[in-house]
C-alpha cells in the first residue's frame, strides 16, 4: 500500500515542482529522474502483487474526502473561468450542474455510507499501473526534446507555457493512478474529473482558436459523461447503500433490476471517455495539441480510463441486458465505422486517431460481451494498443518535426534520410494489425469469444472492420517499406530523449509480443480467476507460442535483414529514359522532363467521413438514448 500511495502522491509533488521550474536543464533532470522513479515504482508494484486476484486495503480518511471536494470545486472553477473567458455557455452550464451535483452529494448524502476499504489492487490495476507508469512516463521523457522543437516552431514572442504543460502531464499520471486503485467510487470520480480537466488544458495548450474550440468540445462531452458518473453515485448511495466498487458489483450481480440504471450511467461515462461514437469527435479534435499529449491521451491515459471502467463493469453487463447490449452495439459499430473512415485519411495523426477509436470500440464490445474469454481479449487489447500506439505517435511526432509534414503521402522521399525511424514506425504498424503480433492475437480471441456467445451482429461488424483495418495500415506500411533498405541513418538532429523513449516503447512492444503466453498466465489469468472463478483461455498455448516464434522472425528480418543486400542496384522503370530515378523524373516524348507520381488509394467516395460519420453518430445516439430510457424508466419490465 505504501507503493500505491507513493505512485499517487509522487507525481503530484513533481507536478508542483515543475510549475516552478523555468529552465530547460533543471526540467530535463527533474522529468528524467522522476519518470524513471515512477516506472521503477510501478514495476516494483507489479512484482510485489504479481498474481494477486483481488485485495482491499483498509484506508479511509475524512481529510481525503474533503480534499476531493476541494478538487471538484477547483475543477469547476477552472472550467467556468475558461467558459466565461471564451464565452462558452454550454461548458459553463455543465460545469455548474456538475459542481452543484457533487456538493449536494458530498454534504447531503455522502455521510450516509462509510467506506472503510478505500483502496484496492488486483491484476488489472497492476497491468494498468504498468501501462501508466512505464509508457506514460516514457511519453513525458519524449516530451522534453519534442517541446524544445515545438517551442522553436512557435511564432516569435509566443508565451512559453512549458512549465504548465509538464505539470499537467504528471498530474494526469497521478489522477490515472487514483482511478485504477480507488475502491471508493467517490475518489475514483475525483480522479476521473481531474483527467478530464487535464486533457482540456492540454488540448487547449496553444490557445489558438482551433485548439480552444476542440478543447471545449472535449470538456462538454466528458462533462456529460461525468454527470452520468455522478448519477450512478447518487443511485448507488441511495438505493444500494454503498460507494465501494467491489460491493457495487456484488450487489449488482444479485439485484440486476436495481443496478441497471447506475450501470447504464457508468457505462455512459465510460463510453464518453473512451471516445466512442457519437462522442468520438473529441479525440479527433485532440490532435491539435502537441504530439506528446496525443500520445498520452491515446495510449496510456484518458481513453484507457474509459475502457478500464467498462472492463470493471463487464460482469454486470452479463446480467444487465440493457446496458450490456448498449455497450456491445456502440463498441461494434464504432469499430467498423471508424476503421472505414481511417481508409479515407491522409493525415497520419488522423489515421492513428481513428484506429485508436476503432480499437477502443473493440475493447468496449468485448467488455459488453462480458465472458471471461472476451475480457481476456479486452485486457490484451489494452496492453498491446498502449504499447504500439505510443510508439506510433512518438514516431509521427518526430517525423513531423523533421520532414515538416504529417501527411502519409510525404513519407517516402522526405523520409529517406531517416531509415531507423521508418523501421520503428513499421514495427509499430505491424504490431497494430498483423499476425503474429499481440494485437491480432487479441483480435483473434475477440472473434472467438463473439462466436462462442453467438453475437452474430458483432461477428459481421468485426469481419468487415478488420478488412478495412488491413487496407489503411497496409498502404501506410507500403509507403515506408522502401526506406528500410536505405543506407545508414544520417539524421542527427533528433533529440536523445526522443530516441530513448522511442527505443523504450519499441522494446515494450517487442517484449510484450514475445512473452505474450507468459504475460497471459501471470497477469491476465489471475484477474479472470478473481472475477469469474474460471479461466477464459480460448487460444491454445501452443498457438500462442507459434505466434511468438513468428514474431521473433519478423523482428529479426525488420531490424537485421533488410539492409544487408549486396545486389546490383538499378533505376526504376518509367516507360521512358530516367533522368533521376530517385525523384522518378524521366525524359518524355517531347524531350522535356516529366515526373511520374502516384498516390495511394483513399476511396473517399466509399469510405469518406462525409458519408459515414453522420450515420454512425445518429445510430449510436439512438442506441444510447434508448438504453438510458429503457434502464431508467422500465427496468422492472425487463426482469
Amino acid at each position: 500500500m505504501t507503493l500505491i500511495a507513493f505512485l499517487i502522491i509522487f507525481p503530484l509533488v513533481i507536478a508542483a515542482l515543475l510549475l516552478l521550474v523555468k529552465g530547460d536543464w533543471p526540467r530535463n533532470i527533474i522529468v528524467g529522474i522522476s519518470a524513471a522513479v515512477i516506472a521503477v515504482a510501478s514495476i516494483l508494484l507489479a512484482v510485489q502483487y504479481l498474481g494477486t486476484s483481488h485485495r482491499l486495503f483498509e484506508f479511509s480518511s475524512a481529510i481525503v474526502d474533503y480534499v476531493g471536494t476541494a478538487i471538484s470545486i477547483a475543477i469547476a472553477a477552472v472550467i467556468i473561468s475558461f467558459g466565461v473567458k471564451y464565452k462558452n455557455k454550454l461548458a459553463t452550464a455543465l460545469a455548474i450542474v456538475q459542481v452543484v451535483g457533487s456538493l449536494v452529494y458530498e454534504f447531503g448524502f455522502a455521510h450516509a455510507v462509510h467506506e472503510p476499504a478505500g483502496l484496492y489492487i488486483d491484476s488489472l490495476s497492476v497491468i494498468m499501473a504498468l501501462i501508466i507508469g512505464v509508457i506514460g512516463s516514457g511519453i513525458c521523457v519524449y516530451a522534453l526534446g519534442y517541446m524544445i522543437d515545438f517551442q522553436a516552431h512557435e511564432p516569435e514572442g509566443a508565451k512559453d507555457r512549458r512549465p504548465t504543460f509538464f505539470a499537467l502531464m504528471f498530474l494526469f499520471l497521478s489522477a490515472m493512478f487514483v482511478i485504477v486503485f480507488s475502491n471508493n467510487m467517490v475518489w475514483m470520480f475525483t480522479g476521473w474529473e481531474v483527467t478530464t480537466v487535464c486533457s482540456f488544458l492540454l488540448i487547449g495548450y496553444t490557445r489558438t482558436d482551433e485548439a480552444i474550440n476542440n478543447a471545449f468540445r472535449q470538456i462538454i462531452m466528458n462533462l456529460l459523461g461525468g454527470i452520468g458518473f455522478l448519477v450512478a453515485l447518487y443511485i448507488a448511495t441511495i438505493q444500494m447503500h454503498t460507494i465501494s466498487l467491489d460491493r457495487f458489483i456484488l450487489e449488482g450481480l444479485m439485484h440486476p433490476e436495481i443496478a441497471a440504471l447506475p450501470v447504464c450511467a457508468l457505462a455512459f461515462a465510460g463510453l464518453t471517455k473512451a471516445a466512442q461514437m457519437p462522442f468520438h469527435t473529441w479525440l479527433l479534435g485532440a490532435m491539435v495539441a502537441p504530439t506528446p499529449t496525443s500520445a498520452l491521451l491515446h495510449s496510456s491515459t484518458m481513453v484507457k480510463a474509459g475502457v478500464f471502467l467498462l472492463i470493471k463493469l463487464a460482469p454486470l453487463f452479463l446480467v444487465c441486458q440493457v446496458p450490456g447490449t448498449m455497450v456491445i452495439l456502440i463498441g461494434g459499430i464504432t469499430f467498423m465505422l471508424c476503421s472505414f473512415m481511417a481508409i479515407s485519411q491522409t493525415n497520419a495523426k488522423r489515421v492513428l486517431a481513428y484506429s485508436t477509436i476503432a480499437n477502443l470500440g473493440l475493447i468496449t464490445a468485448c467488455a459488453g460481451v462480458g465472458t471471461p474469454e472476451a475480457i481476456w481479449a479486452a485486457i490484451l487489447l489494452v496492453i498491446f494498443h498502449a504499447a504500439a500506439k505510443s510508439l506510433l505517435f512518438l514516431c509521427v511526432g518526430t517525423a513531423e518535426h523533421h520532414i515538416g509534414s504529417r501527411d502519409i503521402e510525404d513519407m517516402d522521399l522526405l523520409f529517406e534520410r531517416m531509415p531507423r525511424l521508418a523501421r520503428f514506425m513499421m514495427l509499430g504498424i505491424m504490431c497494430m494489425f498483423i499476425a503474429p503480433f499481440g494485437m491480432l492475437i487479441a483480435k483473434w480471441a475477440t472473434l472467438v469469444s463473439f462466436v462462442e456467445t453467438k453475437q452474430v451482429v458483432l461477428i459481421i461488424l468485426l469481419a468487415f472492420g478488420s478488412a478495412a483495418t488491413f487496407m489503411f495500415w497496409a498502404k501506410w506500411l507500403g509507403k515506408l517499406s522502401g526506406i528500410a533498405g536505405r543506407p545508414q541513418n544520417v539524421e542527427m538532429t533528433v533529440h536523445p530523449s526522443e530516441w530513448i523513449s522511442l527505443i523504450v516503447m519499441a522494446a515494450i512492444a517487442i517484449v510484450a509480443c514475445i512473452v505474450l503466453p507468459i504475460m497471459s498466465h501471470t497477469m491476465v489469468e489471475p484477474y479472470l480467476v478473481g472475477i469469474y472463478g474460471q479461466l477464459g483461455q480460448d487460444i491454445s498455448v501452443d498457438n500462442l507460442w507459434i505466434s511468438s516464434i513468428l514474431a521473433v522472425f519478423v523482428l529479426v528480418v525488420l531490424f537485421g535483414g533488410v539492409n544487408s543486400s549486396k545486389k546490383k542496384r538499378v533505376g526504376v522503370y518509367l516507360a521512358g529514359v530516367s533522368t533521376d530515378s530517385d525523384t522518378r523524373t524521366y525524359r518524355n516524348s517531347l524531350s522535356g522532363e516529366s515526373i511520374a507520381t502516384s498516390r495511394n488509394l483513399y476511396l473517399d467516395s466509399i469510405f469518406g467521413e462525409a458519408r459515414i460519420r453522420r450515420t454512425g453518430e445518429i445510430v449510436c445516439a439512438i442506441v444510447i438514448i434508448f438504453a438510458l430510457v429503457a434502464s431508467g424508466v422500465v427496468p422492472p419490465m425487463f426482469y
Binding site: 517516402d412 498483423i434 499476425a435 503474429p436 491480432l440 483473434w444 472473434l447 472467438v448 462466436v451 453467438k454 452474430v456 461477428i459 459481421i460 468485426l462 469481419a463 468487415f464 478488420s466 478488412a467 478495412a468 488491413f470 487496407m471 497496409a474 498502404k475 506500411l477 507500403g478 509507403k479 517499406s481 522502401g482 528500410a484 533498405g485 491454445s540 501452443d542 498457438n543 507460442w545 507459434i546 505466434s547 513468428l550 522472425f553 519478423v554 528480418v557 535483414g561 533488410v562 539492409n563 543486400s565 545486389k567 546490383k568 542496384r569 538499378v570 533505376g571 526504376v572 522503370y573 518509367l574 516507360a575 522518378r584 511520374a596 507520381t597 502516384s598 495511394n600 488509394l601 466509399i606
Partner: protein, 289 residues
Amino acid sequence: MTFINTLIGTVAFAILAPIVGCLLAGLDRIISARMQGRVGPPLLQPYYDVRKLIDKDDVTVSGVDGVYMTCALVFTAFAGGIFFSGGNLLMSAFIITMAALFFIMAAYSSRSPYAEVGAGRETLQVMSYEPMVLLMAVCFFMAAHSFNVGDAFKLNMPVITLIWPAFIGFLFILTIKLRKSPFDISTSHHAHQELVKGTTTEMSGKTLAKVEIMHWCENVLFLGWTGMFFLWGGPLSIILAVVVALAAWFFEIWVDNNFARVKWQLMLKSAWIVALVCGGVNVVFLAML
C-alpha cells in the same frame, strides 16, 4: 503436440506444395490453351520458367524486395503447414494474410508508379476477400465446433451440409485469391497493359521466382480450404475433398477464360455483398440452430 505437428507440417508443405502447385500451374496453362483452341506449353513449363529466373543475375531497385519475398514465402509455408497438419483454420488464414502483406510491401518498396498502383490494388483485393474468409472460418467453427481442421474427421456429416451458403461465398472470393480474371486487377500477365506488370514490375530473377513459387503454394493451400468443406468421418473422405477441390479449380479456370477484368469498385462491392449475404446469412442460421 500441436507445436511439433505444425513444424513437421510446415516442412512437408514447403517441400510438397511447390511440386503440386507447379504441376497444377502447368495443367492450368494447358487447359486454358485448349479452351482457347491452342495446344499450350509442356506440362513442366512453369518449372522451366522458374529455373531460368533463378539462374538470372540479381538486380534490384530497392534492395529489400528479395527479403520481403522470402518472408512472404516462409509465412505461406507456415500457413500451409498449420492447415495441412490439421491445425487452427483461423491461424492459417491470419498467417497467409501476413504473407500477402509482405508481397504488398515488396511491391511498394521499389517506389515504381506501376508497382505502387499494383500494390494498392492488391491491398484492395485483400480487403475484398478478407470478410468472407473470416466468416467462412466462423461458419466452419460453428458447424464443426472447433477451429481445428483435423477435428472435421470426427464429424458425422461434412460441414458442407450446414454451411453451403458460405461455400458459395468462398468460391466467389476464391477467384480473387487465385488471381484469376475477372479479379486479377493487381497484376497482369501481359506487359503491354495499363499496369505494365503491376505488383511485379520491378521484380526480377530470384525475387520473381519466389513470387511464382509463393503463388503455387497459395493455390495448393486455397484448394485445401475448398476441400475442407467435404471432410468427415475418416481419412477416406479426403478422396472426395480432392475431387471437389479439383472441380472447383477447373471451374475457376473456366471463369478465368470467360470473363473480362472488372474495375476495383465492382470487385469490392460484389465481394462484400456476397460476404454479407452468403456469410452473414449462414452465421445467423448457425447461431439459431
